[in-house]
């Protein structure tokens, strides 16, 4: 990552003596993470891919990331600890997702897979067309495949019927699937008609060193409620527009601090205008990831009004900063924090106001645990090291499995995805196989140069190199 962001690299960003020599118990894997979403784009999936890669590198695996070109950022880049990123020149279609023809990315991806000697392809996010393409090509090439689903999807409307069908096709012959919460697992199993035993639940994590409490930053003469989210309908901003006037009328010392940007900002501005709350409701606009903590520590209570959420990193980050969390009871949220750290409400203005009033009463009576206690508790819950350890188990398991040969793969597609879709995609699989055979004839695998490993057992990214870079070595913290 760019030098600036290297400052906030995870625990794995540190150099450990003898790291290069370390070989994991199940053997080192050569993992290729594929997703349309990666740095410089910012979000949940992006940071998941980055942090997971860093921790896997720390565990001695060879990891590379493949994504599409972001503007002038194309070609090969190296990030912290020699994480190699391929920014492939593929056309972006919508919301940073590439257009897919199912075939056109094969030459590029094959080249990457062959020259990097990839053994496991790990695709991320069901919204990423590139991830699905990569799974399709990897299966044709006989590589093992893992897929991580980061989002929830409904079943009722036409668009979800179509996307769910495509997901069924994409996942029916994938070796293993990872979901970020149990609710997300149930959702994915239903959507893609999967055997639940090939679906693992591995939660997201936050870096606790990035989200530390700082009670001196808050103003204890007032009560501040913090909201950090994109201001869109799915995050329940409409509910927020009802909560703000309701509570501000009741509690004169209450302040709101809203971080984030989006189309729903206008209704918050209207509410502020209508009730003359300019001094009490501050809209901060879009926040950089490193500024989130500075906003969080200014508040006493964190409010999350999401209408759907697979995991919700925001509430973990807030709790890690020592705030009392009030949230809607939707999706995977009830699984994320224990009951004494979160107040769960129904997604309605009334219920959320009740929850906030409860939190305010606790705050006034001083029965809330201190931020430091909360932080110390939360930091043991979710760590990227733990995520990487559990993901490594999935890789070990997948490495022992056999990849379906072509005939079985076609059978699986036709029996599993319905007569029409199944046959169409079986045909595509055959075409893809022929295309691959053609490419192999044009440029045999033996002709393709083998890249020098930057990470992994034979990693060339030496310790000297990045000890020389100042500011990249962070203080070692007791690991959880």
């Amino acid at each position: 990552m760019a030098p600036g962001s290297a400052q906030r690299t995870p625990a794995a960003g540190r150099n450990r003596p003898g790291m290069e020599a370390r070989v994991p118990a199940g053997g080192a894997h050569s993992v290729c993470m594929v997703s349309d979403f990666f740095y410089p784009n910012m979000g949940g999936v992006e940071s998941h891919v980055y942090q997971l890669s860093q921790c896997l590198i720390e565990r001695g695996h060879k990891v590379l990331v493949v994504t599409h070109a972001y503007g002038r950022r194309r070609g090969i880049r190296y990030l912290t600890n020699g994480l190699k990123v391929y920014y492939l020149p593929l056309k972006v279609m919508y919301n940073q997702s590439t257009a897919t023809t199912l075939f056109h990315s094969l030459p590029l991806l094959r080249c990457v897979f062959v020259r990097e000697r990839v053994t496991i392809v790990h695709a991320h996010s069901s919204f990423s067309a590139m991830a699905h393409d990569a799974l399709f090509h990897a299966k044709t090439m006989g590589l093992r495949t893992v897929f991580t689903d980061h989002s929830l999807f409904g079943f009722a409307d036409v668009s979800s019927v179509l996307t769910n069908k495509l997901l069924t096709v994409s996942l029916c012959d994938t070796n293993h699937i990872i979901c970020v919460s149990y609710t997300s697992k149930e959702n994915t199993v239903l959507r893609a008609a999967l055997d639940p035993r090939i679906v693992s639940v591995i939660p997201n994590a936050v870096d606790p060193t990035d989200f530390t409490p700082d009670p001196s930053r808050r103003d204890d003469n007032t009560i501040t409620i913090v909201v950090v989210s994109r201001l869109v309908y799915r995050k329940g901003i409409d509910l927020l527009s009802g909560i703000i006037p309701e509570l501000c009328q009741k509690y004169p010392e209450l302040h709101f601090l809203v971080g984030g940007e989006g189309p729903k900002r206008i209704i918050l501005e209207e509410v502020r205008e209508r009730y003359q709350l300019h001094d009490r409701v501050r809209l901060l606009g879009a926040l950089e990831h490193q500024d989130v903590r500075n906003v969080l520590v200014q508040g006493h209570i964190f409010l999350n009004t999401s209408l759907t959420e697979a995991f919700c990193m925001a509430i973990v980050e807030a709790a890690s900063c020592g705030l009392q969390v009030v949230s809607t009871r939707v999706g995977g949220i009830p699984e994320v924090l224990p009951e004494n750290l979160i107040i769960l409400c129904e997604p309605s203005v009334k219920s959320l106001c009740d929850g906030l009033e409860k939190a305010i009463a606790q705050l006034r009576s001083g029965t809330l645990p201190s931020p430091e206690t909360v932080h110390n508790k939360v930091k043991t819950f979710y760590t990227w090291r733990n995520v990487a350890e559990r993901t490594e188990k999935v890789y070990d398991r997948v490495a022992d499995e056999v990849v379906l040969p072509m005939d079985e793969r076609l059978n699986r597609l036709m029996s599993h995805c319905g007569p029409v879709t199944g046959c169409i995609f079986a045909l595509f699989a055959v075409l893809n196989f022929l295309f691959l055979a053609f490419l192999r004839w044009m440029t045999p695998d033996s002709v393709i140069d083998v890249a020098i490993d930057a990470t992994g057992p034979k990693g060339a990214w030496t310790k000297q190199y990045f000890l020389g870079k100042k500011g990249r070595v962070k203080e070692e913290l007791p690991s959880s």
């Binding site: 929830l152 999807f153 409904g154 079943f155 009722a156 293993h176 919460s181 149990y182 609710t183 997300s184 149930e186 959702n187 199993v189 239903l190 639940p196 035993r197 090939i198 679906v199 693992s200 639940v201 591995i202 939660p203 799915r234 329940g236 409409d238 509910l239 527009s241 009802g242 006037p245 309701e246 209704i267 209207e270 509410v271 209508r274 209408l307 759907t308 995991f311 809607t328 939707v330 999706g331 995977g332 009830p334 699984e335 994320v336 924090l337 224990p338 997604p347 309605s348 203005v349 009334k350 819950f381 979710y382 559990r390 188990k393 999935v394």
Partner: protein
């Protein structure tokens, strides 16, 4: 790692549990709900509701047949105007009689206002009928027919049959019907014909559905009788123009009122709608009050 006896699996992520990550508990999918919002229909209730569609099809049919007679010169404009006037008056009395004048008291609309709008409308249509007659002279007759068919089809599509759908727009529907009537009226021999045709269109596409709606709400038996009678009149009229058309139209009406409800109920059994904690929550409150 094997499940440890005596320790129950919990659906939480913050605790390290002695189960493998791909462990499937008995409680897996226990919050799954099916067909939460599915409605159970009864056959005859659906048939009754399909009356609205039948009615509107018949209205279009009667309108086209009337136009046909006018163009062929088998129906004088004076005769049609007289008949329409009488039925309108009857309908007007009936409109107030079915609910005992309750609707009128509620809206607070006086009879004088009704008379005024009728007079204004009639006078304007009469005054502009020569223009209507010559408006589309430069357009070929085939284009006029194609346009009228499209407009009448549009009228049927956008008509408010009582369903709560985004496509419904009674304004658009009425406008399309009037447009079709102006198109067709311009192909009639004289401007008096055009005037009578447009007024007739107003009666059958604007006033008649209002009366229908009221009948349906107040006296369902009467509504069924009226619908049947109306359908028979439309069929008889069509039969005098084209017997093949009449047979096809009968089949269409039967399909809509008998076959379609049957299909709906059969297909309803196959409904498999899944709900669970992953569904996006709906905001059920009216939040606009905070901005007023």
């Amino acid at each position: 790692m094997e499940p440890v006896l005596g320790r129950r699996w919990q659906k939480v992520l913050y605790e390290r549990q002695p189960f493998p990550d791909n462990y499937v508990d008995q409680r897996f999918l226990e919050e799954l709900r099916k067909n939460v919002h599915a409605r159970q229909y009864r056959y005859w209730a659906v048939v009754f509701q399909s009356g609205a569609v039948v009615q509107q099809l018949c209205s279009v049919c009667i309108f086209v047949v009337t136009w046909w007679y006018m163009e062929a010169g088998m129906l004088s404009p004076q005769g049609l105007f007289g008949a329409a006037l009488v039925t309108s008056l009857l309908g007007y009395i009936l409109f107030d009689a079915v609910d005992g004048g309750a609707g009128r008291r509620e809206s607070g609309r006086t009879r004088w206002a009704d008379l005024k709008s009728t007079l204004v409308f009639t006078a304007f249509t009469y005054g502009f009928s020569p223009v209507l007659k010559t408006l589309t002279e430069s357009i070929s007759t085939d284009t006029i027919y194609a346009m009228s068919s499209l407009m009448l089809l549009g009228h049927l599509i956008f008509f408010d049959y009582g369903a709560n759908a985004a496509i419904v727009s009674s304004t658009l529907s009425l406008n399309m019907a009037i447009f079709a009537s102006v198109c067709l009226a311009s192909r009639l021999p004289r401007s008096l014909h055009a005037f009578v045709m447009v007024t007739f269109a107003m009666q059958i596409f604007a006033l008649w559905p209002m009366l229908q709606k009221k009948l349906k709400a107040q006296t369902p038996q009467c509504y069924v009788g009226v619908t049947l009678l109306f359908a028979l009149v439309a069929l008889a009229g069509l039969a005098t123009v084209s017997s093949v058309g009449a047979v096809l139209f009968t089949l269409l009406l039967l399909a809509i009122s008998c076959l379609c409800p049957y299909c709906l109920i059969r297909l309803q059994l196959l409904k498999d709608n899944i709900h669970g904690p992953w569904d996006e929550a709906e905001i059920k409150e009216d939040l606009s009050r905070f901005l007023m």
